[in-house]
Amino acid sequence: MNIMTEQTLENAVGDKMNAKSNEVIKMRGDKVGVFYGEKQALFDVNLDVRQNQVTALIGPSGCGKSTFLRCLNRMNDTIDSARVTGKITLDEDDIYDKNIDVVELRARVGMVFQKPNPFPKSIYENVAYGPRIHGLAKRKSDMDQIVESSLKKAAIWNEVKDRLQEPGTGLSGGQQQRLCIARAIAVSPEVILMDEPCSALDPIATARVEELIDELRQNYTIVIVTHSMQQAARVSQRTAMFHLGYLVEEGATDKMFTNPDDKRTQDYITGRFG
């Protein structure tokens, strides 16, 4: 009787593991290296980003996590001395291929930054800007629709719906950050990159953004860089640990924060880094 129960249990666990291995890889980094001039900042990083999951990148300052994040939508192109080696794919297409339109890539892979950076324009215009330059709305009513649904998805609609023409810069920090998330969502991206999106926010605004990240996961794939271990543990399903430009360990978040394999991960998350 006991043996049967255990067998069933093992099968169930096995099925779950199989289901996990079948998850779709949205983006894949294959031996990614980054040089800033002569200096190599990232070495041979192999990392998969799974669809509809939140992948957290953690590690001490200067470990290469933001550098890797910025490779995912070619933000490093804006730095003249930066050079990327290896291969990064989005839905199996090489994003560094010559034929790739970078503007279109960044529409598919959106980004939210550390400090909320709304345009010095109205709340409405902040969200409408992206769809307009990408020609996503033909009529004013279409644009109104996009703005409303983006603001709703970013969980800020109720707070701003009566003052859409006021400047975005007049909002509180937490509201500004959610406005920036709405702006990123407005162009219907597939992947959203977040570089320490809560580091300038108070705990309540942080909780709102974290709640939002969890909701956004249903429709988007998210990669987040964070210095808060607790935040990584709360919002992500996968965690990748970087150190000195190398990917040290990647795995299920639950395991990474209770029983990591690598000593450097253990030292970092328990606060033992020298």
Binding site: N2, A233, T258, N259, G271, R272, G274
Partner: protein, 234 residues
């Protein structure tokens, strides 16, 4: 394991692990004291075990307070988190061992007053020795961070279960031989059951300690032999 960047974090973890060691030592001395008191009808020793239980309870409360405060202040992760949560659970088992030892000690007076327990309690003595080895062992192996030894120690509980079955049968026989033995033997039976329960708490502690050290759970089933149910129906 290296030190934390924040030194007081290490201190706080150290205080919690010291409390576990203290509670473990106290549990060992309570178990050995209570069985010795039982076998020698030593009422004074029994009283000391009873009063030691108050110390045990106080230690557990102190450990709970420290562990909760540490979680609130430091948000421990990975091995630190396992150590803190594991300590709370191990302290619970150690406190229960204290209770059970106290229960044995409380019977000392009662058993001593009835017929000569000396002959009757011989096999309980052997069982108590096995339990004592387990209680002292689990604390030592945890302090020595020896996961393999803890896994083995957990399986060794089987020996206590086997011994308990034989004590049960033996006491039953005494009672059938001479009804005047019934009062003493019933008390001794409760003592034997308490010792067996102490063994079970030791296996819980071994399982928790193993998890704290390795991050892995020991397999759910372990060899188990309690045939007293069969013995009664026979």
């Amino acid at each position: 394991m290296g030190e934390h960047t924040v030194a007081s974090f290490d201190e706080e973890l150290g205080q919690i692990s010291k409390l576990i060691r203290d509670m473990g030592d106290l549990a060992g001395s309570m178990v050995s004291g209570s069985t010795k008191a039982l076998l020698t009808s030593d009422n004074a020793l029994a009283q000391r075990v009873v009063s030691d239980d108050t110390i045990m309870d106080a230690r557990q409360r102190e450990l709970d307070d420290r562990a909760i405060t540490l979680i609130a202040k430091r948000q421990p992760m990975a091995n630190d988190l396992r150590a803190v949560v594991g300590s709370i659970r191990m302290a619970g088992d150690l406190e229960r061992i204290g209770d059970l030892a106290k229960n044995i000690a409380k019977r000392v007076g009662t058993v001593g007053l009835s017929v000569t327990p000396r002959d009757l309690s011989h096999s309980i003595d052997a069982m108590a020795q096995l339990v004592l080895i387990q209680v002292q062992g689990v604390v030592e192996e945890y302090a020595a961070a020896d996961a393999a030894a803890l896994a083995k120690l957990r399986n060794d509980d089987e020996r206590i279960d086997v011994k308990y079955t034989s004590v049960f049968r033996e006491l039953l026989t005494y009672m059938m031989e001479d009804p005047r033995n019934i009062t003493a033997c019933t008390h001794l039976l409760f003592c034997a059951k308490n010792l067996e329960r102490i063994g079970d708490h030791v296996t819980n502690i071994a399982e928790n300690a193993y998890y704290v050290l390795t991050g892995q759970q020991l397999p759910a089933n372990r060899p188990k032999q309690d045939e007293t149910a069969m013995a009664t129906s026979a």
